[in-house]
Symmetry: C2
Subunit: 681 residues, 2 copies
């Protein structure tokens, strides 16, 4: 009768333990995943468990009411001070007094899985590079004059099995006061830059630190900076915020920023300072709003394209503006954030940047790969992240390939006659009735379609100001499906198409979507130039994808994932009609949302994920579109708009008219787009 | 006839090599120690060799004039540009054409030994933590988009067998311009913090860097800062400089500086800033004078006592001012010097501080151990470094012990009636004629003795201003030998000693050394209080040494090494007479000069030495005098001045008078010193 059976749920792990054994001890000895920051001192409450009572015939156990020791003073103090849910016990305080079944709730699991609702539904295991530990340190002894740091390291080894602690001078300065103020009990923030690396002491607090432990996942885009503040104990996003990238004033797109750096002495440094200040300000504001003290934030993961990567690190991006597009470093970057003037976090906070895949395929693409995880899939997955350049990943369990394709800014609404950035007032969805050729659309900031009652009133605040990236794609695809555009991309005349909306525009035609000129507003049209710009962009994207498919020797992909903020808004149907992406079953074209941001969060929460993506990126086969002759071939071949009536049942229902073919000589329009391509190439 | 015999001298290593093999290649394949920074590119000239000609019957070889390939264009260019001594060849250019004997001169040896003339005559092997390497890097290739850093690391691995190079962001910024400016040939400064640690890229230069490679060895004393600039290629000291420690204005001795830190908020930071600025200024001035550019200085080793150690690192030293004298860290410290505001060197320069032995026995004592190397000796060596505290080391091959003893500042001339710091005008040597009881002395800054003709004129510039530490020791020992002081330390009256120089001084007596009062100068005397102060100091020193001897269970030591700037000036004879150190044969009492500074230089030049001293310090048995009851016993027992006539033949010749014993009651003097001891204890 000296011992009792203990069964932990949901793992089902079981063992016999001496009467009086604390539940936490039993869990540890069985390898049950039960969290603890304070190491069983009744302080941190991370080891909460729920004992079950009654008959467990399945396990052959009857659990009596007194199977655990009585509620004790430590638990009562904790309950009064911070609250403890009904039925919960502290695993370090409750002792085994008889056979018992103990449920470990998800929030008490150290390596709990965080279910994500992203493209691939891959779960995430918490395994952050930085963790908090409560440690009791031996007092100094004149007979054994080891320094305070050495005794601290010794205690960490004994109490947490973490050996070889290092500390830089900044934290050394805090060490002695903290140990004495905490009466030799301190909370440590310990960082492990790599799984095998020596653990580093980032910070120290007297006693138990209540401030928590947080990290920032940052997607540093050319246009916008998006940051998520994550709790490093459970992976939850506690706050999100975004800001414009202030580098825009130095150049809208990346290449103009590189030019700025090349043309202006100190220009790169200016851009570096601008983006650092923006990120620092964003972080400070976010923390203030969330009520979290800067000292609690010890990590940041930043993902971005190579030019932003170099500019953020203070490396002149000039080499990225010209062949052979050499990165200063392609591997993951680890650095103290304070060395990058990010001072709104803990002064010891560490930066991690994912590796870059190539000179045009950055850490953001690596984050997309980490999030979408093609290397874990049987299916052949094509992942497309569309921006000024499209990053294209193709792969499955066997092999992963990557390339970048120069799509230009058309997909972002730039170089489009009525184009604008995705902002309130911009047309983002558009349909054209195949019979009447009349358009209806929706604008950002208004839930009604333009032909619904009340639209005029609802849209009055912004008006209809232009057409954004996703809008122009839908417009061109709809024009094709409505027979307004032929396979070569030529817009028909009013006579050819039967609608006066196809109005003359110099030697070509344009399709009028919305005319607000009576009220002093714009006439929003799709011009022949707009069609050409979209054709160029989509050809580049398609050609990149085809190039990777050639490399793998395949004709079809099993799945297409559209990543990026833009990917989140592209309609898969229209992307297929346009021929932006290779043919795939419509239901297998998915949006991954901000996959780069999700990848950043995964890397923030998991050291193993960092190791994984670093090894994977080394294995990714990089294809350079600029020097592949077949890219040009695919590019030219992809110029057409193939699917007036598509091989997709869903499209077939929509596309009812026979596909026309307009003779450019009929109206003298320049349908080749060659001059333009010559310039873009 | 396809190969030839090559014999390298002085190693005698030999082997057969294909005709046409470069001498450097042959040396490498035989493991001959032949230096090269440029890796055989005819640039660095570190691989110079001297081919021998003629008959070498001992080796059974006849060397023909044409045993090496002809003087080539690369050698000629080098000779014209920088000079090449007659008979020298560049090992990377000269090729083996026939049997040959090749002499490798010492300066071409990579791991040449640097013979030191220090206490133990231990030689030093060059093995610096930072070295320069010339590397040719593969150009970037769009087919293999590894970053520049990764290709650089790959080249370093291939060309120098150094793998796993790391680089921080600061050097990453320089990488791309340097590679391109140098046409893919660069010089790297590579630092290895520990023998097993990953190599770190500290700096990069286009092409071959001509600026050299230097390091600073700094002895950061409480009073003075001494720095040596060393060439890290051959270990030579190229410049030395010293400065006062500006912390003196916060407190003359260490404890008053700790008090200043305790009493004044921000006081520790003030002292930190003061000493850093002083060291930075000293380094800048030294480099400017030596004509060496700051960028060429990549390392500094700093040794100092624990309080200076903490203050230099910016750690509040308050814990070192009170029992149990806990160090923040006892192990070696590695840090970027720029993080300590030392900016006059290469921005990436690294600091190394030797480990501290205990809270009172600092990195300076560790440096003394490294220099004197008791652990390598059969003899039992006692090493004493005298300052405000004395650090005492006792050991041999088997065991090394250390303690610190609170000697107080008397040995430095403080708390002595006519005491002063060692500066021009201070009496530093003194003799008393045993018959006439008349003194003669020498002052700092004048080579004549005071009784020699011309002294008055020669000393006129400074006058005789006081008596410094070494002077007071000699004075007390001479007084004892001349019978002016008895074994208890009591100064006799004029009647008792037979000289009017023993004049009344309150209830005791004082011995007049020099009277300049007629000219408005001081009357320089040794008072009873002075004797007591010296007795206390020497008792503490002796008791510490005895404590260590007790610990080892020995009654005698084989050798005594007096370290420290002060040790360099103490006369061994007088130290023995005074009973400062345990009895030893006079010829086995040696001065090690600035052993701490020498230890710093060794650590600067050798990574292996750092590893060695770190392991040794962990092994050193620390004895804490403050809590050892036997220390008090030894201290009390050591109060007497034992050797009026000593067991040393040399002393016996000098000491001719019978040793007197003065009865304190004869003149009412307080001969016990107890009140004073009470205060000092």
């Amino acid at each position: 009768m000296g011992d009792a059976l203990v069964i932990f749920m949901p793992s089902g792990k079981r063992g016999r333990f001496a009467i009086g054994t604390p539940v936490l001890d039993a869990a540890r000895r069985l390898g049950v995943d039960l969290d603890s920051v304070c190491g069983g001192r009744g302080i941190c409450s991370r080891c909460q468990v729920t004992p079950a009572h009654g008959e467990f015939s399945k396990h052959g156990v009857t659990v009596r009411e007194d199977a655990l020791s009585e509620w004790n003073a430590v638990e009562e103090r904790y309950r009064q001070k911070r609250g403890l849910a009904e039925g919960r016990r502290l695993g370090c305080q409750a002792r085994v007094m008889g056979d018992v079944v103990i449920d470990v709730p998800p929030e008490s699991q150290l390596h709990r899985q965080v279910v994500r609702k992203a493209a691939t539904q891959r779960d995430m295991v918490m395994d952050p590079a930085t963790r908090l530990y409560l440690v009791d340190v031996a007092e100094p002894d004149m007979h054994e004059p080891a320094g305070d740091l050495q005794r601290l390291a010794q205690s960490l080894q004994e109490q947490w099995k973490i050996s070889g602690l290092r500390a830089d001078i900044e934290v050394l300065k805090k060490l002695q006061p903290a140990l004495r103020k905490g009466a030799w009990r301190v909370t440590l923030a310990v960082h492990r830059p790599q799984p095998e690396a020596a653990p580093e002491l980032l910070d120290i607090w007297p006693g138990f630190y209540e401030g928590g432990l947080y990290g920032l996942a940052v997607d540093l885009g050319s246009t916008t900076i998006a940051a998520h503040l994550c709790d490093l104990r459970d992976g939850q996003v506690v706050a999100s915020a975004g800001a414009m990238n202030p580098q825009i004033r130095f150049g809208e797109d990346l290449m103009s920023r590189v030019s700025y750096a090349m043309m202006n002495p100190g220009g790169a440094a200016e851009m570096t300072q601008a983006v650092r200040i923006a990120l620092d300000t964003l972080a400070r504001d976010m923390l203030a709003e969330a009520g979290i003290e800067p000292r609690a934030v010890l990590e940041a993961v930043v993902v971005c394209n190579p030019v932003m990567h170099h500019l953020f690190l203070g490396i002149d991006p000039v080499e990225l503006g010209q062949a052979p597009f050499a990165l200063a470093t392609s591997e993951a970057v680890r650095a103290p954030l304070r060395s990058l003037d990010i001072t709104g976090l803990n002064p010891a906070a560490r930066l991690y940047m994912l590796p870059c895949i190539a000179g045009h395929v950055g850490a953001d693409a690596a984050a997309v790969v980490l999030s979408a995880a093609p290397e874990r899939q049987e299916d052949l997955v094509l992942i497309v992240d569309v921006g000024t350049n499209a990053e294209i990943i193709l792969g499955n369990r066997e092999r992963v390939l990557a390339c970048s394709s120069p799509t230009g800014p058309a997909f972002e609404g730039a170089q489009i006659s009525a184009g604008q950035r995705a902002a309130p007032g911009a047309i983002e969805r558009l349909e054209i009735d195949p019979a009447t050729k009349e358009p209806r659309f929706r604008i950002i900031g208004c839930d009604l379609w333009s032909d619904e009652p009340g639209f005029a009133a609802a849209s009055a605040a912004t008006g209809v100001t232009g057409i954004c990236g996703s809008g122009i794609i839908e417009a061109v695809a709809e024009m094709r499906m409505a027979g307004l555009v032929d396979a070569s991309g030529l817009i028909g005349s009013a006579a050819q198409t039967g609608t006066p909306r196809c109005e003359p525009d110099g030697r070509t035609h344009a399709y009028l979507i919305h005319d607000a000129s009576a009220a002093g507003g714009p006439r929003i049209r799709v011009t022949q130039s707009d069609i050409r710009a979209i054709q160029l962009a989509k050809s580049a994207l398609y050609a990149g994808a085809r190039l990777l498919m050639d490399e793998l020797g395949v004709e079809r992909v099993d799945k297409v994932v559209l990543a990026g903020a833009f990917g989140a808004h592209i309609s898969p149907k229209h992307a297929l009609v346009l021929g932006m992406i290779p043919d795939a079953a419509l239901e297998r074209v998915l949006s991954a949302g901000n996959a780069a941001g999700t990848g950043a969060r995964i890397a923030l929460c998991s050291l193993a994920a960092r190791t994984h993506i670093e090894a994977l990126v080394r294995r990714i086969h990089k294809v350079e579109t600029a020097i592949e002759p077949r890219f040009q071939e695919h590019f030219v071949a992809a110029n057409a708009l193939p699917h007036a009536s598509a091989p997709y049942p869903e499209l077939a229902r929509i596309v009812t008219l026979p596909a026309p073919r307009f003779n450019p000589r009929d109206n003298g329009g320049d349908g080749t787009g060659r001059r333009r391509r010559g310039r873009a190439g």
